[in-house]
């Protein structure tokens, strides 16, 4: 395998809109062939960072290099190297699949001689063979989504941006789509995914968690689950639910309790002491305890703890 090489370098990036700091001293790198996810609440600064990476917004300060180019100085050249697929794929429903591809090829400056072979490649890559002449309005969701991807990569960009790419798509099409993305990344394309859905985040090699303009965590999904959280997560069965929730929220060492159907997911400071102490604590309050057992953390737990804790801490830089 080739040595990793940075496709995108972001160094001390700041973006201010008047008095509001949308991006606050953010630094990271993305390698060739990497699928990097951006997670964060609405308004956290994810889209601002992506618009700067695309050369659509000027940074206030800091340096951003995309495919070796400085986005502040060469935004046009940067745009030739990137592809973008939005959440609501901007396809033309009254044009055929091939007409859409031709249209987007034109926008991205694919020349007439290049178009033929690129079209063949895109159709094959996206599994659209047999549907070339179908009106897009008649295609099912999964087909539309792969066509939108084909439109975004027809000019063979080195960097691809996806905004909640599989939101609302059925799971079978979603899995096909992510398989396609991983195959594309394996050819050296760097893929950025912006989402607040954790089941999309699980498909990323690394995740950048953004909150109020700052990078609060960066790592593989496994690393984040292991290290970004202090303490652990317990499944607690306890009845009656309402009283048990109130008691758990007050219990020593408990950070958060959430109802999942007929049980609780309880985030605790430390797993061992909680396992020892919770049964007694709950039964002393007249509650009926069932199973209490550690369960693996989900990315959502990491997200809620990271972002939630930052809010409580009042926004001091980590």
């Amino acid at each position: 395998m080739n040595a990793p090489s940075a496709a995108v370098t972001v160094q001390d990036l700041v973006k201010r809109f008047g008095a509001f700091t949308a991006v606050d001293h953010v630094s990271f790198e993305a390698q060739r062939g990497e699928v990097l996810g951006f997670l964060g609440p609405n308004g956290a600064g994810k889209s601002t960072i992506i618009r700067i990476l695309c050369g659509l917004l000027h940074p206030t300060s800091g340096e951003v290099r995309v495919a070796g180019l400085d986005v502040a100085r060469q935004p046009e050249a940067v745009r030739a190297q990137i592809g973008y697929m939005s959440q609501r794929f901007s396809l033309y429903n009254d044009l055929t699949a091939v007409e859409n591809l031709r249209f987007f090829g034109g926008l991205y400056g694919v020349t007439a001689t290049e178009f033929g072979p690129r079209l063949q490649w895109a159709i094959e890559m996206a599994g659209l063979a047999g549907r070339e002449l179908a009106l897009v309005g008649t295609l099912a969701g999964g087909w539309k989504q792969r066509l939108a991807l084909a439109c975004a990569v027809l000019h063979q960009p080195r960097i691809l941006f996806l905004d909640e790419p599989t939101s609302g798509v059925d799971p079978i099409s979603r899995r096909q789509f992510w398989d396609l993305i991983h195959r594309m990344a394996a050819t050296g394309v760097t893929v950025f995914v912006s989402t607040h859905y954790m089941d999309e985040a699980e498909y990323c090699h690394r995740l950048a968690l953004i909150d109020r303009g700052r990078l609060v965590a960066l790592g593989t999904p496994g690393e984040l689950k292991r290290t970004a959280m202090t303490g652990g997560l317990l499944l607690v069965e306890c009845e009656p639910l309402g009283e048990a929730l109130a008691a758990l929220e007050q219990a020593p060492g408990v950070l958060e309790a959430a109802i999942f159907g007929d049980a609780f997911h309880v985030t605790v400071l430390a797993t061992e002491p909680a396992l020892r102490e919770l049964p007694g604590y709950l039964s002393a309050r007249g509650l009926r305890c069932g199973r209490i057992t550690p369960i693996p953390l989900s990315l959502e737990d990491v997200f809620v703890q990271k972002v939630g804790r930052e809010v409580v801490a009042g926004g001091t830089p980590s």
């Binding site: 609405n42 099409s173 992510w178 089941d199 109802i259 159907g261 007929d262 972002v307």
Partner: protein, 314 residues
Amino acid sequence: MAEPAVAITVDGLTKQFAGFIAVDHLHFAVAAGEIFCLVGPDGAGKTTTMRMLAGVMAPDAGSATVAGCDVVRDPEGVKNHISYMPQRFGLYEELTVDENIRFYADLFGIGRRERELRAAQLLAAAGMARFHDRLAGQLSGGMKQKLGLSCALIHTPRVLLLDEPTTGVDPVSRRDFWRLLYRLAAEGVTVLASTAYMDEAERCHRLALLHRGRLLLCDAPSRLKAGMPGAVVAVTTSAPAAVRDELQGMPGISSVLVVGDGTHLVVDDAESHLPAIRARLRAAAIPFSEVARVAPTIEDLFVASVGSQDKGGS
């Protein structure tokens, strides 16, 4: 405990639009005080089902009752007992939070004293009390949804119908939203909510998994997962694509999926396959740190269920 009363019954409910069947002979029942989720991708029939249960769209066949009212014979009667929050809830962006609530209170004929009491409770529970005079247009996505819910709850419904209430809402706000739903359920309100997000469905009491208008599965999330045929195995590896290429097509493995830091497999029997998978990866000199059984997700169930019902896929 007394036998729980039934809040919603759905019996063969069917709706067609211009040659395609949006809802296809649905059957399910929801107990009073239950949080029940309709789960499925776009086009599964979630919104059409909600509309029929809200009495705003007539079914082509079948019947349903909501809070004891027949939605076909008495659609107006249904409306007295429910609150329905459609996907695009009509908030007035140029009005404040208080003014939006007051508008809905007037629509439902709620007097001033009751309105003020209830609005204060709802906004406090939603963590929005200090935003009461902010314009709705200046709220975040999560807060808009919570305001929509507060408006829908300004009268006390017996059944709450929520169509994709958390779409576009970040995980922190989503947890607040679910906390509110559980509070309502504890007060005896029945909640029927829809979602396209399979991970969110883990939170409800029971769910109906829908695909192209049809019911795939209906039960509590934990029981559905326990009943999944086969097992999900996670291979933690720095070379997930190599793992996929090596294991795809191996007998007994029905699905191979590359995720961020590994590969997920669906196998027909975990006990016999775990050692076989490890041996095969070692023989192929593919590096891995762990091969272990993991709990299936609702998405795993959906894929397994659709795969066994129709091989048509996408």
